[in-house]
């Protein structure tokens, strides 16, 4: 039993080691800032603003891991359990993104079915989006085994109804800037600090190491 527990801890340590670059944190920070800027971008470039919502975050993750993380800490492939979990995650993420985008479009265009749009003084839909985001991100965090994601899911989930509340008092785009922009910038700064610490702790390896790794 003790041996199994220790090996589990070793595997968990190795797995969580791959998250200490701050890339995921920066990604979520950028995502929130994108949401904050969405009303302004919509005014400037029309429906094309959706590209600014969906492209930067995955791009940061992919490029960050490839050009910053891997050259500094190497590559690891985890066992079957993690690989299966990762595949589930991809499927769940795609479904969540599609549902969220549909709900967001319905919010923007005010095309809700039945009386949904007017329930709870019009807060029903943002609340539904917020709760489903929290649940979805919670599932994501559980499968990914990345504790920060719970908090980020909560922040994103709460920002949506908060933005709606602020919309009725201060209007757009300030509501988005405050509801999404402020936490987004805080997370971005936090992620950047983690990244800075990571770069300092794990400099690029010397040439003999690079040659060994390249075969």
């Amino acid at each position: 039993m003790t041996e199994k527990m220790n090996l589990k801890e070793i595997e968990k340590k190795a797995y969580r080691f791959t998250f200490q670059d701050g890339i995921y944190d920066i990604m979520f920070g950028v995502l929130l800032v994108s949401f904050a800027l969405a009303p302004i971008l919509r005014e400037v470039i029309g429906l094309g603003y959706i590209l600014f919502l969906v492209i930067p975050a995955p791009l940061i993750l992919t490029l960050g891991k490839r050009y910053i993380t891997v050259p500094r800490i190497g590559i690891v492939k985890f066992g079957l359990n993690r690989q299966v979990a990762h595949k589930k995650l991809v499927i769940i993420s795609v479904i969540l993104v599609i549902i969220t985008l549909i709900l967001l479009m319905m919010t923007i265009t005010k095309t809700f079915p039945g009386t949904l749009g007017t329930m709870l003084d019009g807060y029903a839909v943002p609340l539904i989006i917020g709760i489903s985001t929290i649940i979805g991100m919670g599932v994501f965090a559980y499968i990914k085994d990345f504790p920060h994601l719970w908090i980020y899911g909560l922040i994103i989930g709460l920002s949506i109804p908060v933005a709606e509340v602020l919309y009725k008092t201060i209007g757009t785009p300030l509501n988005g800037i405050i509801a999404f922009g402020v936490p987004g910038i805080v997370i971005l700064i936090y992620g950047s600090l983690i990244l800075f610490r990571f770069l300092h702790k794990y400099p690029l390896p010397k040439e003999e190491m690079s040659n060994e790794n390249s075969g």
Partner: protein
Amino acid sequence: MKTQDKRAIDDVQPLTTVDKVIHEPARLNIMAYLYVIESADFLFMMRQTGLTFGNLSAHMSKLEAVGYIKVVKEFVGRKPHTMLVLTEKGKQAFDEYRKQMKQFFNEI
């Protein structure tokens, strides 16, 4: 020979048959990591074990010489990488080592 001395010798004997290749702390660390993951490159193992490049190289060579690990060259993206994998023989040896150590600590 007194019964106590004989018993002490019997307790120690399992340790004399333990796999000396695995029993070294650095190599035990390497084997443990490779046991729980599918594969990793040199740099990752260096970061995890805290060993220097030369030190890790030397231990890897010993493990490879006895057939416990194998070096696999594969492409990640378009870049070739040298990945380290625990062989079936290595897994069995590690399991046997764990069993022996558990037995030893249970008996003392």
